[in-house]
Symmetry: C2
Subunit: 430 residues, 2 copies
C-alpha cells in the first residue's frame, strides 16, 4: 500500500520535490519498501505557472485541511518563514503525521514548540534540508557523532554571502557591485537582508549548535554581524596579508566545556585554510570532535535540486519509520549547556586605525591594548601624514577586552578613525 | 535498565571503545535513553598488557560463548579479518543480537552472508567504521542520499598509501624510503601488503559501490592496482606537469546507467583538484549525485580514536533501535546492476615511452593510438639519443583500447621501453 505524502509549498524546492517523487518513483518505492504517492499540494494561489508539472486535481489552497486529512502519512513543508508554516506543521504533528521540513527560520525561532509537538504526536520531525542544502550535516551530527564529544562546528553556511565575498576577493568589486551581480545571477534575492545581514546563517548556526551540544539554542542566542560593511579595501588589505574574508558560522564550546558560544560574522582566515578554497555559492562545514578529530563536509548549500535531494532523503527515512511503526531520534537537549555572551568569546583580531603621524603614536596605541591585557602579535605602520595607518593583529583575547580596547582607542586624540575591526579565525585549530 | 554490550577484540580500536564507553558513560546513557554496560570482552590471550584499563573479570577467551550469552544486547566486532570474525558475527546475528563492526574485509568478501543473517535474525548490522574511519560516509550514502541517484564515488580511502605518496611528492623520496618512514611512524604495518597493494582500499570501494548503486559488490569485482611500482621519477614527472599521484577508489556508473565499474589504482590528478590537497594520512571522498551535485567528506580515515568514534555512533544508533524494538535500514540490493569489466572503463591516460631518437618516431607511435581509436590530447618529446622520451596524454578512451595500444607499442622496434602508463582523473567531473 502506498504512503501518502502532502506537500506544502510548490516554489523552487517544492517543484523539484514533485519532479523527483515522480521521476524516481520506482527507486523510492524499492528503497522505502512501499510506493510514495503525492496526495496533495497546498499552494497560495491556484492557476499560477509552476516549474513542475503538478496534476491540477492535487492542488489546494486549504493547507490546513490537507495536513490533517486522514489518508496523509507524511507532510513536507517547503513554504519557509514562521507563519503559516508553524501552524501547519503543528497541526500535522498533532495529528500524528510525520513532517519533513527545510524551514531553518522556524526551527531556530521556535524549535522547542515544534519538537515538543513531534514528541507529543509520536511523529518524526526531519530537517536535513534546513542547513547547508544537500550536504549531509544534521544526520552526521545527530547520529554518526552521537558517540563523540563535539568541540566546535565552524563553516560557511550561506551561499549568497560566500558568492558575494568570493567576487569581491577575486575581482576587487565593491560590496554593492558584487551583490548586484549575485542578484542578476539568482544567487541573491531582491531583498537580500536575510542573507547579507547574517540572519539565514544565524538560524543555521542555532540549529547546528543545538544538535552539536545537546542543548536548546534559538536565533536570539546567536551573535550576528552581516557583511554589508565589508569594503573593497578590507578585502584588499586581507589579501595583502595572505587572508581571505568569509562569513563564518562558529559554534564553539568554552575551554571548560560548560558553556558555548554561537556567532555569525565576517572573519579573516588564512588563504591556506581549506575554507578559503570554498568558492562561489558553495558551503563547507568543519566539525571538530574529541575522538573523530576534524571532519569537513562540502557541497552545494542551496538551490532547488540540492535542497530537494536532502528533503527526499528525509522522506525515505521517515517513510521507513512509518512502515516500521517507529520513530527516528528526537531532539536531544539533555546537556542543557549555557550560551555564553559574545564578550566571553576568545579569538584573534585584526585592527586597522587611521592615526596621526607623529612620534609616540604606536606606544600610546600599544598601551591601550596592554591595559586590557590584549597582547599584540604583529603591528605594521604604513603611509604617513594624513594617510598614516596602523594595522595590528592580536593574540587570542576575549571579545569584551577587545571591545574595551577599541572604545579606549576611539577616545584617543591621536586615533583619527578606527577603520576596521575584524576577527581572525582558522589558525588556532588543532 | 542497562543495555549490555559485548566487545570482540581489544587492540588499537577496541581499547579506545572501552575507554570511551567508560569516559562518556553519562552522555551515552542520555543519548541512548538507557545506560550502556560493557558486559564482556573477548580477547585472544588473557594477561596481556592493554592500552585501556579493562576489568579483568570481563575478559574471556571464549568469544563464541560471549556473543550468544542471553544477557548480551549488542556485539561489537573489532577483531578484523575473515575468521573467526565471520563465525562470531553470524552467531550473534542468529541469536538476534545486533552487531556493530569495523570489518571491511569481511563485508567486502562475504557481505551477502552477513547481511542475510542480520535480516533473518531481525537484528541490526551497522558498519560506519569499516570505511574511512571517523568520516560519516556509510550513513550519508545509505540514508541522506536515499532519495537521490548517485553517479560516482571517488576518493582517497587508504591513509597509509596517501601518507607514502604525499611523502614521495613533497620530499622526492622513493617508494621504499617513504614506506619505511610510514612504518616508523606507525602509519604502515610491518607487512604493508594490504595497504600498498590496494586490498584495503578495494574492500572499502566494494562496500561503497554496493551502497551507492544498491547492488551486491564483492572485493573480487574490484579492479585493483597498488602503489609499489610508483617511482620517484613518476612522481616528479607528474609534478612537472601540474599533477599529483594519489591512490584512488572510484565507483562509477556507465554512461547508460545500467552498469558500473569499481576500481582502485594510482592516478594522476590536477594539483588544483580538492583531492590533491589531502595530505598525510587523511581520507577524502567525493560523492556525485544527480540532484545533490558534488559533495565532499574529509577527515581522519584511520586510527584508534577516530575509528572508535564511528563505532560509538553506531552503538548509539543500534542501542536506540534495540530500545524501540525496531531496526535500521537493511542492505539494499534491489537495483542489481552489473559490474562491468575494467576494459569498459573510460578515462584518460598518461603514457611515457623510451624511444629511438630518429625521424618518424612520433608518427609511428601516434599511428598505434589512432588504430585503437585513442585520441591524443598532448604529446611532449624530451631528451635525445639514448634518453629520448615521448610523454603522451590521451583524451577519454576505454581501458581496453588503451591496453591494446600499449601492447602494440611494446611490439614496435622503435619503442625501447614503456616507462609508465597511468590514468588521469579529476578533470572530467561536471
Amino acid at each position: 500500500m502506498a504512503l501518502k505524502v502532502a506537500l506544502l509549498g510548490c516554489g523552487v524546492v517544492g517543484s523539484q520535490v514533485v519532479r523527483l517523487l515522480h521521476e524516481q518513483a520506482d527507486d523510492l518505492a524499492a528503497r522505502v519498501g512501499a510506493p510514495l504517492e503525492l496526495a496533495g499540494v497546498a499552494v497560495r494561489r491556484l492557476g499560477r505557472r509552476r516549474d513542475a508539472e503538478v496534476d491540477p486535481a492535487l492542488l489546494t489552497t486549504d493547507a490546513e485541511a490537507l495536513v490533517t486529512r486522514d489518508d496523509i502519512d507524511i507532510v513536507i513543508e517547503v513554504i519557509g518563514g514562521i507563519e503559516p508554516a508553524r501552524s501547519l506543521i503543528l497541526s500535522a504533528l498533532n495529528a500524528g503525521k510525520s513532517v519533513v521540513t527545510a524551514n531553518k527560520a522556524l526551527l531556530a525561532e521556535d524549535g522547542a514548540t515544534v519538537h515538543a509537538a513531534a514528541r507529543a504526536g509520536g511523529a518524526d520531525l526531519y530537517f536535513e534540508a534546513a542547513v547547508a542544502g544537500a550536504i549531509p550535516l544534521i544526520r552526521p551530527l545527530r547520529e554518526s557523532l552521537a558517540g563523540d564529544h563535539v568541540h566546535r562546528v565552524l563553516g560557511i553556511v550561506n551561499g549568497t554571502t560566500n558568492y558575494i565575498l568570493d567576487q569581491m576577493d577575486s575581482s576587487g568589486a565593491s560590496f554593492s557591485d558584487a551583490l548586484g551581480e549575485a542578484q542578476a545571477l539568482g544567487y541573491a534575492e531582491a531583498d537580500p537582508t536575510a542573507d547579507v545581514e547574517g540572519f539565514d546563517a544565524a538560524a543555521k548556526a542555532a540549529i547546528l549548535a543545538g544538535i552539536a551540544f545537546h542543548s536548546r539554542v534559538t536565533a536570539a542566542d546567536v551573535h550576528r554581524e552581516g557583511i554589508t560593511e565589508i569594503t573593497a579595501a578590507d578585502v584588499a588589505s586581507a589579501k595583502a596579508m595572505g587572508y581571505v574574508i568569509k562569513l563564518l558560522a562558529i559554534c564553539a564550546r568554552s575551554d571548560d566545556g560548560r558553556s558555548f558560544g554561537v556567532r555569525v560574522h565576517p572573519a579573516m582566515i588564512p588563504r591556506t585554510h581549506p575554507l578559503a578554497g570554498v568558492r562561489e555559492a558553495y558551503n563547507a562545514v568543519f566539525v571538530e570532535a574529541r575522538s573523530a578529530g576534524r571532519l569537513m563536509f562540502y557541497g552545494a548549500g542551496a538551490g532547488g535540486a540540492p535542497t530537494a535531494s536532502a528533503v527526499l532523503g528525509d522522506i525515505v527515512a521517515v517513510a521507513r519509520n512509518v512502515l516500521a511503526r517507529t520513530r527516528g531520534p528526537e531532539e536531544s537537549t539533555y546537556a542543557d549547556l549555557v550560551v555564553h555572551p559574545m564578550g566571553e568569546t576568545v579569538t584573534r583580531y585584526h585592527v586597522s586605525l587611521d592615526v596621526a603621524d607623529r612620534p609616540g603614536v604606536l606606544a600610546r596605541v600599544a598601551d591601550m591594548f596592554a591595559k586590557q591585557d590584549v597582547s599584540i602579535q604583529t603591528v605594521r605602520q604604513q603611509g604617513h601624514g594624513d594617510d598614516a595607518q596602523l594595522v595590528l593583529v592580536t593574540h587570542r583575547a576575549s571579545d569584551a577586552a577587545l571591545s574595551a580596547t577599541i572604545e579606549a582607542l576611539r577616545e584617543l586624540e591621536i586615533v583619527r578613525n578606527v577603520v576596521s575591526v575584524m576577527r581572525v579565525e582558522g589558525e588556532d585549530a588543532s
